[in-house]
Symmetry: D2
Subunit: 251 residues, 4 copies
Amino acid sequence: MQNSTLKPARKERLADTVYGQILDEITAGRFTSGDKLPSEAELSHSFAVSRPVVREALLRLTTDGLIQSRRGIGTFVSTRPSSRLTELAKTSELSSYLRSFEPRIVLEVEAARLAAQRRTRADLDRAHAAIEALRVAIASGQRGQEQDIEFHDAVARAAGNEYFCDLLNDLRQPVTETMNIGLELARERSPGRRLRIIEEHTRILDAIAAEDSDAAASYMKYHLMQARAAVLDARHLENSQALDIAPRARG
Amino acid sequence: MQNSTLKPARKERLADTVYGQILDEITAGRFTSGDKLPSEAELSHSFAVSRPVVREALLRLTTDGLIQSRRGIGTFVSTRPSSRLTELAKTSELSSYLRSFEPRIVLEVEAARLAAQRRTRADLDRAHAAIEALRVAIASGQRGQEQDIEFHDAVARAAGNEYFCDLLNDLRQPVTETMNIGLELARERSPGRRLRIIEEHTRILDAIAAEDSDAAASYMKYHLMQARAAVLDARHLENSQALDIAPRARG
Amino acid sequence: MQNSTLKPARKERLADTVYGQILDEITAGRFTSGDKLPSEAELSHSFAVSRPVVREALLRLTTDGLIQSRRGIGTFVSTRPSSRLTELAKTSELSSYLRSFEPRIVLEVEAARLAAQRRTRADLDRAHAAIEALRVAIASGQRGQEQDIEFHDAVARAAGNEYFCDLLNDLRQPVTETMNIGLELARERSPGRRLRIIEEHTRILDAIAAEDSDAAASYMKYHLMQARAAVLDARHLENSQALDIAPRARG
Amino acid sequence: MQNSTLKPARKERLADTVYGQILDEITAGRFTSGDKLPSEAELSHSFAVSRPVVREALLRLTTDGLIQSRRGIGTFVSTRPSSRLTELAKTSELSSYLRSFEPRIVLEVEAARLAAQRRTRADLDRAHAAIEALRVAIASGQRGQEQDIEFHDAVARAAGNEYFCDLLNDLRQPVTETMNIGLELARERSPGRRLRIIEEHTRILDAIAAEDSDAAASYMKYHLMQARAAVLDARHLENSQALDIAPRARG
């Protein structure tokens, strides 16, 4: 495989652009939650791209929880992300950044599983120090992305297989971008989400320390799924009505 | 289920008893967090059982996060469960109840995965009604275990395969016992844990509604791992120091 | 959950019947490989059942690899099972039998994973004896289903958790039915498939003996997927053109 | 990938060397199947390395199925790989090559799962052409590693996420090395193993074509586990006594 494969195919890049354009409409409130989106044919016409490109963009928006299709009825907006999102990232690049979670999740989950079997005392100390530094950073109002990355590096290193470190290093750029967005949105919001970030990391480390592979893998998976959801605020319930103790009506 | 197979072998039952005896010592504070346990030989002598029985009991206490062994040094108590635990259940039966989580987790995780692919509108409504009823029950100071069971039944039914319902039905007794303990301990504590219970159920249902199999499976797994941990309060961080925003020293 | 839940709902039972009727047509050669099936509306009319029932039956036939739908074109027969199948089982019950693989696979895969961690010498001996007995049975022209069941019981027992044995016992009837069909079809065919059955069991046991949880789980999963496929001879490549060393055209 | 992270730590490299030295002894027949290995202390003395380095090397030999430890008794040789192995690769590098399977398996298994959901007609055609080319290559006595790589690339591409292609590209060197060894050993042996290689690839592709994510993932995992085992001929039963239909004694 040559360098050429490092770039996504043209269709994929066009779909990223269309994804960004629809996301802009949603973020700006021109398509709002519950709204029916225009048909594939209409979107293909408006954005001047082929229907397979539109279909690909819609598929990704669905995967990311921003829209939902109901068979035979149409496609609807399900979430409106923070308006800050468009300031924190180019919407045309978000789709690509989010796609990096697919390989990242399987790599980090496996690294956590192996770390629970192979970690040394030094590995645990390093990961623990990273969490403490993250706690301090967050408490003092910083994003803490360096400390967050340091924790994930410590886990990868504890897996005792240098390939995990190398491969995650190759994903460094999209990982850093999504981490910045997620941590920044958390920083600006309720202390609840910030506490959760510390808690999720601690739980992973505790499972690794207890040599519980299955728990380490599950908690890492949960953490990364939350991290992905946090970027778009989609299907991310921490401050949703789910937390009201009072009964609520379902939309 | 034939009766003959319902009883664990003699060694297993003895190990359950020894498990309960050690747990009693921990809960009563005679062995406390950080304490080194007596050796296998000493425990075998005190409890008048063979060493394989002691080893089996220690293995389960380790799996349940109550003790931790450090190679070449010894075995240490890692958590002290609520003293209420011994009032809520016979400690000699707790090991068996907790063991039911092993098959329960794989069955319910698969049911959630399939439910995301096959659920009907009626399935979603039933599960949603169960969560709302659980919210009301918890808000009015009840345990809510009927509503909790109703939710899990609704997910199993949404899997579109009657075997899941039948098999979970066969696990009804230990599931009810552990649910009672976990919900009762949550009821007596901070509202935080109670809110989490609602949130965890909502997240599973949202993933099923969104037809996201992988998320539904992961969130169900996370929920059941938390439920298991809640019974013993072990490795259960919700109200641990992990949530202090201030730096802490690690033991 | 009451006894009533032990029976599938009426829609499910009707779907099983329609599944059996379509399967009869395929087995009898009235619908053959590559043929387009009548539309949902036509099938609903012919079998005098509602369209959701037809849809459910088609969904299961697809899951079982007997038919395949191509978006916007129609549904096509993909495999013709052995004509012996209709002699070995009532086609109206096959769908239910096959459905038992869904919980069975997750339970036995988890049992194999735990067995690799907890098996005693006696467990290994019992499982090994079962494989040797299966080898003898097959070599002397018998089906060997008792020996096959004995092996799977031995693995469940080695998991050190009596609930696995109990739950698999509850699945005994559909497991025995599908095992009989699969082993009988293997018995009547090339020695290749019979050798594979021995090999698949041996591989699982070797992984359990080597305390390799991940391999034990993967090999059990592979074995049960092959067992399910063997019942219908669908997507079951052992004697397909895939084994011709010469290039072939794809249909 | 930054160069600094490409190199394993010093301890890891030393462990690779010791792994290679012990493997040399086994391949040359100086330690044979069933033999007890010298103790950690003795090995540490013979190879003039620290005991943690010896322990790490033994751990990897165990993971790779070459040796087996029995608690309290000692460590035993379990398999003697082909003597051709030492001609095909430097034994000091084998450990590192084999380690690449850990991230490779999770990446390719996830790629296969996603490919079953997203593959286009062109993806299927490309993967099918690769299998046909592999069949021709093998039939004419070649190794076929280019065609084998082409198949795996086609699956990664079908996952519709360019990161999978990029990351697997980063693993290209160890993947090519292990593939060469496995295919060369298969080429020199019975046609059975060569047929299996074609069959395993076909089964993956059939599951992807049938949009069966779970089967695609399982078959890919099985295939890669077989591929890893094939390098060392360890726990690789294809031509073992397991295939004799006659009863055998267990060692």
